[in-house]
Amino acid sequence: MNLLKTHDLTVGHGRPLISGINLEIGPGECILLCGANGSGKSTLMRTLAGVLPPLGGSFDGVPAVLIPTRIPKVGGFTLREFIRTSCYKESGWNGKLGDLAEKAIGQALDRLGLGPLAERDIATLSDGEFQKGCIATALVRLPAGDGGPGLILLDEPTAFLDVENRLQVLQTLRRITEGGKAALVFSSHDLADSTACATRILGIAPDGRLHDSRSEDKDALLRTCFPALDSR
């Protein structure tokens, strides 16, 4: 079963950034999306999340949940309240949720090991703990809730994190997809740690083509997408 299938998809803002994307993503995959700055990583994610219209081609599959990069840690919200904010459509005027949604939040917190931090102010959490909280907002927004089929897109979840926090977040990404019904695509500039965590790599080459480690060697893919690696 595919969670996502693209057909000659072209994405960009007015002008194409990546074209001819034919991609299939199945359950349990943890995919690294890499490429140079401005290569179109965020644009591809925003298109798959339905925020940006494609410039050409099409895609079908389960609705994807996108978590943007660098969400500010606003003080005065507990971690549980922060996760509630992401359920905008399901909540009442004062942000209150029904029992089912509250249960899904509790499950997501437990699954990510955040249960003991649920009532802590997010301003007091470490960057890594908060980033895991952001991942929890994606889990509760999956169409069938946490544990159901779905596609999570994370735009640079390890940006600005120190080594310890980065490794924690990457381990979390791997853990939530292993043997599960959901798949995850995350972008990163940190190739060393991220390639070790990912089960598959998608790289955007300078010519605007998407390369897939399913069909080509991982090292060759990285050298195609980052020509500077060849000169080292």
Binding site: V51, P68, P72, V74, G76, S86, Y88, S91, W93
Partner: protein, 323 residues
């Protein structure tokens, strides 16, 4: 973060403090009166009570407008005064007092109406620009610049006006809670109820804006509608208040910060009522200070004297925050 019980206790204490301040303010005035004096009833009911009700409604309204603007612009210093809305009202009032001649010139109603129109004009400009600009800092700079433009135009009008008109305009621009008639209080109360209803209905959307427009959009929130609703509410509250009381700063900035500190929360559903109470208490304190000397002081000045130390207390790092 305070528990639900502590929150309710603090809210009740806030209401109690508000009633106590209202009673205290009722006892203070230019003319000392005691029960049994022939003018006791008239002074209390016709002069002091309307002044106190105006202070409570104006303080609450400005505080509520500030809380919404701080969420919309994601800036802790945003308030109607800084964003140029009060400046727009000032220009409107200047036009009514310094330009208009004849029977309507400088009448309370025409000044209030013109100030309200000026506030609406400034708010519309900000809403229009905010729909195109995504950067909150640039938007804040735009608001400050707008305030300067309105101030410059007002100065030009002042420069060309006669002495009598100038005196009338200065008495409005210095700020006062006195002299509002029952009709004016009813308008202030109506604007307050409507503004609060809009803010309450928008509370969870305002929460989302604090985490950025991108986060809010991806969570499925109608960001444009949330921003427009907040600005309409802030415009209504500021326009009505400035029209009757003059341009008053500080309440809009300070009150939401105090409410956040007291509740330990930034959730709007939780801070709206404490913000209203804090704004009303600040305005009453400023009014009390204004009434203490033999000649009442302008409320705009006493509010600044009350507000500036609080703003500095918020901005300056506390001992435990220092590295």
């Amino acid at each position: 973060m305070t528990s639900a019980r502590t929150y309710r206790i603090r809210l009740a204490a806030g209401f109690g403090l508000l009633l106590a301040f209202m009673a205290l303010d009722l006892a203070v005035g230019r003319v000392p009166v005691r029960p049994g004096d022939p003018l006791f009833r008239d002074i209390l009911l016709d002069i002091r009570l309307p002044r106190i009700l105006t202070a409570v409604l104006a303080g609450a309204a400005l505080a509520l407008a500030g809380a919404q603007m701080q969420a919309v612009f994601r800036n802790p210093l945003a308030d109607p005064h800084i964003m140029g809305v009060s400046g727009g009202a000032g220009l409107g009032a200047a036009c009514a007092t310094l330009l208009v001649t004849g029977a309507a010139a400088g009448s309370g109603l025409s000044v209030a109406g013109a100030a309200f129109l000026g506030a609406v004009l400034a708010s519309l400009l900000i809403i229009l620009v905010s729909s195109r600009l995504r950067n909150g800092t640039v938007l804040l700079i735009f608001g400050v610049m707008l305030g300067f433009i309105f101030s410059a135009l007002t100065s030009i009008l002042e420069y060309t006006a006669n002495e009598e008109s100038l005196k009338l305009f200065y008495s409005w621009s210095a700020g006062s809670f006195a002299g509002t008639r029952p009709g004016g209080i009813a308008i202030l109360a109506g604007a307050g109820v409507l503004g609060l209803a809009l803010a309450g209905a928008n509370a969870k959307g305002l929460d989302l804006l604090l985490f950025g427009e991108d986060y809010a959009t991806l969570a499925g929130a109608p960001v444009r509608r949330i921003r427009a609703c907040a600005m309409v509410s802030a415009c209504l509250l500021t326009g009505a208040t400035t029209a009757f009381c003059g341009p008053l700063g500080f309440v809009g900035i300070v009150a939401p910060h105090i409410a956040r500190r007291l509740t330990g929360s930034s959730r709007h559903a939780r801070i709206l009522l404490p913000t209203l109470l804090t704004g009303a208490l600040l305005a009453l304190t400023a009014d009390l200070l204004a009434q203490l000397p033999r000649v009442p002081l302008p409320v705009g000045s006493t509010l600044a004297l009350v507000g500036i130390p609080i703003i500095l207390g918020i901005l300056l790092p506390r001992k435990k925050d220092r590295p």
